[in-house]
Each structure stands twice: as structure tokens, then as C-alpha cells.
């Protein structure tokens, strides 16, 4: 853009009360385009929601605005100032852009006042020492101006998550932020705390501060927003004005219009074979309540729901990682108390959600990664037999087409897809009856994804039951034979037969459908 054009754009922004103006933002991370010519704008004193499925490009857009990552092209104007391609976190803070992070960024062990005034502590007039009394009274003034229930001298560690979030918001206000970005702020709040947060957000709006709100919870988006921008696959799909905002419409836009084309794939199938796992009214404190279902031989049972709905917690408990508080489980016709080593001996396999953290040991070879869960198989005279271990690794490499096919390569050097194949592979060489997979295809390429699905199909055909947890709706619907949707730790809906669309699942996850569960 030429200087004159840029100048006129800048003036236009100021005149129209625009706070932030992004035009034609494009971003790709070494290859795939994550954001493709996206326009996004915010007015002063506006609550603007940004919605989209996982991978739609929401977080990338936020990262670009806050300077965590740089865009490839496009213009960004904030409060009349053009922001260059080389942007940084510190620069965005100085401009007045603040982010309330999901993992809070407060300093533990310090008081509310110390956190609010970090690096800006008021000092005595004559000496370079911090004037604690003045700092506390300034902080208290700020707290009271917004009517929060906090004391300046409270230690952060003693506050609830909701209170900590208000401290973060105060910190943003104290640094004169004019745009506050909130990314899933209610995910760990109680309902009262959420209600308090919403009144704070409206208060911010009245003060002329722009709030960029990101949430999967449609009812919140509906209640709060002045406008909604919908992203899908890196494109801006729509900007909805206040009167156009309706939860069902937003979901329809998030998923796209080509529903018919995909629908044909998603026929649920009944499975009348014997029951492998019979879960009866299991509960775990703070995680999930009263979960019951039966899993049949060869069945792929999908578990859907939003992040934090208890999906992962249920499968972790069934595998025996976390304890159950009540309820019972019957496995292969016998009462079953889940515990990890017993699960492995009895034919369970488990592919955890965070591959790098929980799935692989990056510095160790393919052989080592596979051997460690199969020590009972690779044993000879009570010691690990290198030969047997290597045999096993070769078998897994052959079964799943792991590349490179050299069993001594450290797993950390493999691509994401091949790493995941190792994690799956170590179970396939066992006598497997039930495989639990949690987000099995996050961060892996399309080819590996397809192979993964084929593997699941093969296992299912061979009579292995699969519990599949996934946020990827096409995946969940595409390969599951039956789907349970969890919401707030309970089964809210079961899709057992007929056609299922992404919209159905998303609506159930958001609580927009009356569940036939309790």
C-alpha cells in the first residue's frame, strides 16, 4: 500500500471510531495457509466475538494482533496507527492491546497490588524505594472503581480462578489497554463467576474499551456480542450484526453449507455383537457424573463434546489413570476395577491426547518406545531381550508403514504422523480387545490421518472395540459407529442410528438440543 493510501486509511479509521482494522491478513506456517485474506475490524466500546471450529484460524488471528507471531501480508491499523509486519508482544502491550490468557500470567506469592503495579510501582518522592502504602491505596481505588470484591493486599495464591481473572483484567485496565482480548475466559469459572465476568465485560464496553471475545459456548456469544465474526478454514465467512446473531445461524456458518455432500458418509450403524465394556453410572468428583454406556465388540464409539466437557476424563478413568468415585464397570462379563497395568494385561490400549507430553519418549528409539509397553513380551530369563524387542518394533513398523523404517531412530525425530503411528503401533502387536484413542489425529498430516482411519477400520473389522475422543467433527462423525455427546460431565445426547451431521453434534455439545440423556 502506498503512503498516501495508508494515510487515508488511517484517517478513515479514526473518523469511523474504529479501534482495530485488519485487512487481507494472510498467514501460513511453512506451507498450509492458516489465514487467507482475512478482514477483521473492531469499534471502540464494542463486544466482538470471534467464532470458528478448531483450526479455523481464530488463535492465529489473535496471535497476529498481539504480536506473538507475524503475518505474511495484510494491513493492521490500531487506534489510527499502522502496525508494521514486524510486530511484537511488547509493542502490542505498549499500544494498549491486552490479552487475558487461559493460563493466567500473574506472579504467585505477590499481592494483588504488586501484580497490578509490577515494574510501575509508585516510589517515594525523595528516595527510590517503593511506597507500599501508596501502591496499596492506588490499587484499592482501582478495584473499587470497578466494584470488584477484592482487597489490594490479598495474595494471588489465596484467590479463586475467577478472582485471579479479574486481577488480570484490572492489570490490563491499569496499563490503559483499549482492546482486551479474552480467550475462552469462562472455561474454568463457576456459573456465578461467569455472570460476574459478563457484567464486568459490559462495564468495559461502557468505558469505551473494545472486548474481543472468543468462546465455543454459543449462549455466551449470543448474550454478549454486539457483532460476531465467523471464521472457517482460514477464511472470514461472515460478520453478523447484533440483530442477526442467533446460535443456530452461527453454528451453520461455522460448519459451512456443503452439508449434503458430507451427510452421506455419516450413517450410524447398530452393533448387536457381544458387549465388551459395560459402564454403569460412573462418576468422578468435579470431572463427570453418572456416565453409562455399553461398548460392543468391533464397535467404534465416538465421544464428543467441548473441551472441558469430561470426555478425556472419562476415558482416562476407564483406563485406570484417575480414580472413580462411584459406579461400576463390567469388562468381558466380569466386574472390572480399572488400573493401568491390569488394563494393559487384559487387552486395553491407550493413545493419550497430548502426543509429545504423554505419548512418546522423544529421545528414545522406536524400538525403545514400543518395547517399554511390551516388557512382558520382550522378556527373556527376566531380562529385556534386544532381539525380541527389535522384532516387535519391525512388526509395528511393517503393520503401520512407519517412516523412516529404521527401528533405532529416536521417535522425536519422526514427523507427527509417524510419531502417532508408533504410539498406536505399540498396542497393535498385543492381543488387543479395546483401544482408547484421544484426539488421535491432532497435528498430523492428511495422509497419516487417512492411514490412521484405515487402521481403526481394520481393527474394528477384526473385532477390536474402539473408544474415540475427538474435537474434529468430520473425524468423529466419519469413523464412529455411534456417538455420545458429553456436556458438563454428563451424557447429553446419543446418536445411535440414522444420519448425523456436524451441526447436530455441535448443537448438542453447546446444549442447544434437549438431550435424551439425563
Amino acid at each position: 500500500m502506498s503512503v498516501e493510501l495508508m494515510q487515508s486509511a488511517v484517517e478513515g479509521t479514526v473518523a469511523s471510531g474504529r479501534l482495530l482494522e485488519c485487512r487481507n491478513i494472510t498467514k501460513s506456517y511453512n506451507g498450509p495457509i492458516v489465514l487467507d485474506n482475512v478482514d477483521f475490524s473492531m469499534k471502540r466500546g464494542e463486544i466482538h466475538s470471534l467464532v470458528g471450529e478448531n483450526g479455523a484460524g481464530k488463535s492465529t488471528l489473535i496471535k497476529i494482533v498481539t504480536g506473538v507471531t507475524n503475518r505474511n501480508s495484510g494491513d493492521m491499523i490500531f487506534e489510527g496507527k499502522a502496525i508494521g509486519i514486524e510486530h511484537s508482544k511488547v509493542a502490542s502491550q505498549e499500544l494498549g492491546i491486552a490479552v487475558i490468557y487461559q493460563e493466567l500470567s500473574l506472579i504467585h506469592g505477590m499481592t494483588v497490588a504488586q501484580n497490578l503495579f509490577l515494574t510501575k510501582e509508585p516510589r517515594m518522592s525523595a528516595l527510590p524505594f517503593i511506597d507500599i502504602r501508596k501502591m496499596n491505596s492506588l490499587a484499592q481505588e482501582l478495584i473499587e472503581r470497578y466494584g470488584f470484591r477484592l482487597r489490594a493486599t490479598d495474595i494471588i495464591d489465596d484467590l479463586s480462578i475467577g478472582q485471579r481473572q479479574t486481577v488480570e483484567i484490572l492489570k490490563a485496565l491499569n496499563s490503559k489497554a483499549s482492546l482486551i482480548i479474552m480467550d475462552e475466559p469462562t472455561s474454568s469459572l463457576t456459573s456465578t463467576e461467569s455472570a460476574q465476568l459478563f457484567s464486568i465485560i459490559r462495564r468495559l464496553k461502557d468505558e469505551g474499551i473494545g472486548v474481543l471475545y472468543i468462546s465455543h459456548r454459543m449462549e455466551e456469544v449470543y448474550d454478549l456480542s454486539d457483532r460476531v465474526t465467523v471464521l472457517r478454514d482460514g477464511h472470514k465467512v461472515a460478520v453478523l450484526e447484533k440483530e442477526q446473531i442467533h446460535p443456530a445461524e452461527i453454528i451453520r456458518l461455522m460448519i459451512g453449507r456443503n452439508l449434503d455432500e458430507r451427510d452421506t458418509l455419516h450413517e450410524m450403524r447398530r452393533n448387536d455383537r457381544e458387549v465388551v465394556l459395560d459402564v454403569r453410572n460412573i462418576s468422578a468428583e468435579d470431572k463427570f457424573t453418572d456416565i453409562s454406556f455399553q461398548l460392543h465388540a468391533g464397535e467404534i464409539l465416538g465421544i464428543g463434546g467441548l473441551v472441558g466437557s469430561g470426555r478425556t476424563e472419562v476415558v482416562r478413568a476407564l483406563y485406570g489413570i484417575d480414580p472413580l468415585n462411584s459406579g461400576s464397570v463390567v469388562y468381558l462379563g466380569k466386574p472390572w476395577k480399572p488400573h493401568v497395568s491390569g488394563s494393559i494385561r487384559s487387552g486395553f490400549g491407550f493413545v493419550p491426547e497430548e502426543r509429545r507430553l504423554q505419548g512418546i519418549m522423544g529421545a528414545i528409539s522406536i524400538t525403545g518406545n514400543i518395547g517399554i509397553t511390551n516388557l512382558d513380551v520382550v522378556r527373556k530369563y527376566g531380562f529385556v531381550s534386544d532381539k525380541k524387542e527389535l522384532e516387535l518394533a519391525r512388526k509395528a513398523i511393517g503393520l503401520l508403514n512407519i517412516k523412516p523404517d529404521d527401528p533405532v531412530v529416536p521417535v522425536g525425530n519422526l514427523s507427527g504422523g509417524n510419531q502417532q503411528k508408533v504410539v498406536v503401533g505399540k498396542w497393535l502387536i498385543r492381543d488387543l480387545k479395546l483401544l482408547i484413542v484421544d484426539e488421535p489425529t491432532v497435528g498430523i498430516d492428511i495422509g497419516a490421518k487417512e492411514e490412521m482411519y484405515q487402521t481403526f477400520e481394520r481393527l474394528s473389522a477384526a473385532g477390536v472395540s474402539i473408544l474415540l475422543v475427538s474435537s474434529d467433527l468430520p473425524e468423529l462423525i466419519g469413523i464412529s459407529h455411534r456417538i455420545l455427546v458429553l456436556r458438563k460431565g454428563r451424557i447429553i445426547k446419543e446418536f445411535a442410528e440414522g444420519k448425523v451431521t456436524e451441526e447436530d453434534v455441535l448443537r448438542a455439545s453447546s446444549g442447544l438440543i434437549e438431550g435424551d440423556g439425563k
Partner: protein, 338 residues
């Protein structure tokens, strides 16, 4: 009452009980001489422990402190033996030794992002060797004992009334450091660096500066302790201070500064230092074998840390329960409202 305060009161209570028992059992314990010696020994460890506390607050560790003591002592005797520079000039210069070591540690920790333990352990090795290398030797190349006769230097080992100067220095240093930590921006930045380095950087704190500062200060404190130690001993040996990390770490840990960073203060370390000195003195007064000392200190560290961890888990459980209660009442409220 905050956990830290409660913990401190318990420690002081325990200190008084042990003191009272010793006063009854040992007739010489309450003698002024013994008490002053106890304080003198506590101060010797305490000065180093103050510097070490700052390092721990940034979630680091400094293994080089003992060797800094040795090298500083050797630097001093070199000045004494080979120059005519008066003590009031070379002593402040020698204090720079520790600062230099701290600068070295800080550089490798911040520039190459190396683990603090490895960097300072390497410094410890290097410095222990340097101390032997630069020690004053006789004609046959054997390390000779230099007797310190300089009155200014010896003055550091002396007393004001019954109180050793090192004790006065310890108290003054403790006050200044505590004030510095709590009432200056640099002090606040040190806490922030240890508690949450990412958040600290986002708030505009130069965490590298904080790290440089604490290692240099830790080195300075160790050098200061070296002057007092050699002055009282009236000589200096290249083994001075080697292995003293044990006592320093024990004092700080007993004082309640955790290894996880972001928490702790000088008062805790002062109490920990006194507690440790009392235990050592008590073992002596009760006529128990002095070889028991390190065993007792090691044992106390384990007990204290176990109690700390146990208590922390207990406190978190309590907090969680309180949270759940609130959550449930919240949900009930909502249910009633709808």
C-alpha cells in the same frame, strides 16, 4: 494466618524449647561466651545464606559459594604476602572476587541458557583449583600458612563489647537485604523472575538482569564471609569454605525458602541460620560426638522438607474443598433461579 507466618512461629517456638532444654542440661550453654560464639558461627553461615536466598528466590542454585570463600581468602593472602597495599584498600578489592564469579555464572546461565546447577558446579570445580594454584607457596613449592598480622584485617575478627563484628555485619546485611527485596523495584523483579519468568518478561522485566544480580550478590556475600573467617582464624587456607554449601543450603531450607522460586525472605533465612547453629552448639554442649553433626543436619533437612510438602498438599486440599463448597452453592443458586 498465612502458612509462612505459622511455620515461622513454630520454628521460633522449637528454637526456644531446644534452647531451654540446653540451658537446663548444660551449665555452660547460657554463658555469654558460648552465646556469642554461637552467634558468631551462625553469622558466618548466615552472611553466605543471605546471598543464597536471593538465588533461590529466582529458582536458581549457587554451588560455587564454598569455593568463592576459598579463592577470596587466597586473594587476600596474596595481597598480604606480595604487596604493600594496605588492608583497607585490598579488602574491598577482594570482595570483587565474588562479584566476578557471579558475573561469570550469570553470563553462562543467561547467555547460553545452561542449567544453574551445572554452571555453578563447574565454577566450584574451577575455583577450588584456582585457590590451590594461587595459594602462597614456600621455597619447596608447598603451600605455606600465612599468618595474618595486619591490624586492620584482624579487626574484622574482633568484637565490639561482647559481640563479634561478623554478627553485627550479619544483622546489618540482613536488614538491608530484606528492605531491598521488599521495597525496591529490583527486589520485586527478583521475586517475579523466580515465580513466573514468562509473565515477568511480558510485564517488561529484564529477567536476565535479575539473574546477573543475584549471582553477583551471592558471590559478594561469600567473599565477605571469607574475610571474616580468615580474620578470625588469623590465617587463610585454600580449603576454607569448601563444603560449606551444606550448612548454607540447610539454613535456607529450614528457613522456609523453597527451591521452586518466587517465595522466601531474609527473616526466614535468619531464623534458619540460628536454628542450625543452635543444633550444632547443642550437640557440642551435650558432649555427643561431633561426627553426628552432619548426620543431624541432613536428617533435619529431610524432616523439614517432608513436613513442608505434606503441609502444602494439606493446605491445597483444604482450599479445594472450600472451592467445591462454593461451586456447589453457586450451582444451587442457579438451579433455584432458573
Amino acid at each position: 494466618m498465612p502458612i509462612a507466618t505459622l511455620r515461622r512461629l513454630i520454628l521460633i517456638g522449637l528454637f526456644l524449647v531446644i534452647g531451654a532444654v540446653l540451658a537446663i542440661v548444660s551449665p555452660t550453654f547460657l554463658k555469654l561466651d558460648n552465646l556469642m560464639t554461637l552467634l558468631q558461627e551462625a553469622s558466618q553461615t548466615g552472611i553466605v545464606a543471605i546471598g543464597f536466598t536471593l538465588v533461590l528466590i529466582t529458582a536458581g542454585i549457587d554451588m560455587s559459594i564454598g569455593a568463592v570463600i576459598a579463592v577470596t581468602a587466597m586473594v587476600c593472602v596474596n595481597f598480604l604476602s606480595y604487596t604493600h597495599i594496605p588492608a583497607w584498600i585490598f579488602i574491598p578489592l577482594s570482595l570483587g572476587t565474588g562479584c566476578l564469579v557471579g558475573l561469570f555464572n550469570g553470563y553462562f546461565i543467561t547467555r547460553f541458557k545452561l542449567p544453574e546447577f551445572i554452571v555453578t558446579l563447574a565454577s566450584r570445580g574451577i575455583l577450588a583449583g584456582v585457590a590451590l594454584l594461587i595459594a602462597v607457596k614456600d621455597a619447596d613449592g608447598f603451600i605455606s600458612n600465612v599468618y595474618i598480622q595486619d591490624p586492620v584485617y584482624l579487626g574484622f575478627g574482633g568484637t565490639v563489647g561482647p559481640v563479634y563484628i561478623v554478627t553485627i555485619a550479619f544483622v546489618v546485611l540482613a536488614f538491608i537485604t530484606q528492605f531491598f527485596l521488599k521495597r525496591t523495584r529490583v527486589g520485586t523483579n527478583i521475586y517475579a523472575t523466580g515465580a513466573n519468568p514468562t509473565a515477568a518478561r511480558l510485564s517488561g522485566i529484564n529477567t536476565k538482569h535479575s539473574i546477573y544480580f543475584v549471582y553477583m550478590f551471592s558471590g559478594f556475600c561469600a567473599s565477605l564471609a571469607a574475610i571474616f573467617l580468615s580474620a578470625r582464624m588469623m590465617t587463610a587456607m585454600p580449603e576454607f569454605g569448601i563444603g560449606s554449601e551444606m550448612d548454607v543450603i540447610a539454613a535456607v531450607v529450614i528457613g522456609g525458602t523453597p527451591f521452586t522460586g518466587g517465595v522466601g525472605d531474609i527473616w526466614g533465612t535468619v531464623i534458619g541460620t540460628l536454628f542450625l547453629a543452635l543444633i550444632k552448639n547443642g550437640i557440642l554442649k551435650l558432649g555427643i560426638s561431633p561426627y553426628i553433626q552432619p548426620i543431624a543436619i541432613g536428617g533435619i533437612i529431610v524432616v523439614v522438607v517432608v513436613i513442608d510438602v505434606w503441609y502444602k498438599a494439606f493446605a491445597e486440599k483444604l482450599a479445594k474443598k472450600a472451592g467445591n463448597r462454593r461451586k456447589r452453592s453457586d450451582e444451587a443458586e442457579v438451579a433455584v433461579a432458573s
